[in-house]
Amino acid sequence: MKKICVLIVALVLLSMLTGCVTGANPYSAMMGPYYLKQREYKEGLKSFVERVKENPQDATAAYYVGRFYLATKRPAEAMTYLKQAAKLVPDNADYQFWIGVAHWAKLELDEEKASYERALVLDPDHISANLYLGHGYTDEKQWAQALVLYDKVISLDRYNPEALYNRGVALGGLGRHKEEVAALKKFLEYYPDGSLAMRATSRLNLQGDFSYRNFILGKRNVTLKSMTFKPGTNDLVLESKESLHVIAAMMGTNKKLALHIVAYNDGNAAAAKARAQAVKDYILAGRPGFDPKRLPLSWFGTTETVERKGKTFTLEDSVTFITVVQ
């Protein structure tokens, strides 16, 4: 902290020596990202609004005031400062991009799109502008244009989660469902948790692919890889074991959490019972503190029927988890 303070003082002195400059100001360029990174938006606002008052030519300061306002969900105020920055430095793609985001927050969707397009004229490889322009096309169901942009984002940023997920959505919109499934699985491989993972799983299930499923475990919605066994055995494959580690961790944290393990195997109740037991044994293995009664078993020699958005699917061989109501 002491070093940062020394550096700030040095930069302030430097900026005083060089006089007020148009565009990038060393102090603004350093402290703006600091406040953003620390999520100290209000503190950033307090400091930077003053800077803009003192030097209205400081485009960087105006830009960060805009960013802080936007982060505090005040898009109208943000717009004023972002436009001020863009007027001072018209060829800055970031400024145009964030004007676009502010337009979105104000629900001005046509203006939003135009801003991203301006950003891309200035910098065709601007990842966020490509991504959000793609989002605009997705919201308008213009799938082909959206797909082009998501592919571009992925070519620039291989693991971009939003592009990976929405690429699947766009492929689905185009009716290319096999590719949609592959894209969603790729996304889930990298990002198996969170709200996008849940949405990806829902879409996957709607295509009849249940390799991932969403479960309500206690009070949490959780995406898990489905239980799969090595052919002809009751031995779980590695990916399924990883899902069980998640469940075990949740049970470790929440001592009251108890789950029914429900197995289905069409025409073979004995196999269903054995698999339910195998799942239970794996969760309990190495966890002597777990009461086995927290994992009651059920098994059925039938298919599992799953309904998703009015569609009905039958799964011949599956294991599911249902929270025990206390």
Partner: protein, 252 residues
């Protein structure tokens, strides 16, 4: 005499005075009316525009018929600038003067109705509220929606009242059921999260309708978002649209 009765009487007096400015016979009256209009506060640009029409060959009757609603709005202390904007638009687009006159009279009638609605429900007038209600009734929003809103929410702070009133107007113009708007407003006001940005919620409704999302579901999403204190833009992702990160990172 209570304050509401005083307001009624004042309104009637203003209305009666305004009638005295209506042209008994248009011929030769334009200059006289123009002087009154300028004196009252009609902008010199608008008056000059109408004088210009007359010198360009329009009949004095036609010019008087166009100026009359502006003067009457001014005398009645109703918003004049919306009429002036409409006049300017009409003249620029070369709309025939009788059509401009009819449009202005219609707008004036809307503002008079707006004044009646606001006075009978809240007992007070506010120029911004008059404009919102006047524009709304002029575009087909039923008066009962405004009356219901003003009766229920008339005691809210001005900013909240105007935000809600604008929502009633804009959402009414696209036939969004008032009962749904009311549910959204009640949540926003109860949770104290109805910021001015919500006045443009109608854009969410339009975008969602394009996707075939039912109005009731849109209202449910809005209520959820208001309950969480999120901004109006959060309704879009709540309805399945893509999201944007308003805080974002520090680089592209």
């Amino acid at each position: 005499m209570n304050s509401r009765s005083s307001l009624y009487i004042a309104t009637l007096v203003v209305f009666a005075v305004s009638l005295s400015f209506l042209p008994a016979s248009a011929a030769g009256k334009l200059e006289d009316m123009a002087a009154h209009a300028l004196n009252c506060g009609v902008s010199s640009e608008s008056v000059e525009q109408i004088r210009g029409l007359s010198s360009a060959g329009a009949s004095e009757d036609a010019a008087v018929a166009v100026l009359s609603p502006l003067l009457n709005a001014c005398v009645d202390q109703l918003p004049v600038s919306p009429l002036e904007i409409r006049l300017s638009e009409g003249v620029t687009k070369r709309v025939p003067l009788p059509a401009i006159s009819v449009a202005l009279e219609k707008q004036l009638a809307s503002f008079r109705l707006a004044r009646e609605i606001l006075l009978t429900t809240t007992g007070s007038l506010n120029e911004s509220a008059l404009e919102v209600v006047g524009n709304g009734v002029g575009k087909g929003v039923v008066r009962s929606d405004f009356e219901a809103f003003a009766t229920e929410f008339g005691k809210q702070p001005v900013e909240v009242f105007l935000t809600g009133l604008t929502m009633v107007s804009l959402q009414g113009q696209i036939d969004y059921d008032y009962a749904l708007t009311q549910r959204i407003l009640e949540k926003g006001i109860q949770a104290e999260t109805l910021s001015p940005d919500w006045q443009y919620f109608v854009r969410v409704v339009l975008a969602a309708r394009k996707h075939g999302i039912e109005d009731r579901i849109i209202a449910d999403a809005a209520v959820d978002v208001l309950d969480k204190g999120e901004p109006v833009s959060s309704v879009l992702p709540e309805l399945g649209f893509t999201d944007r990160d308003l805080a974002g990172g520090i680089s592209k």
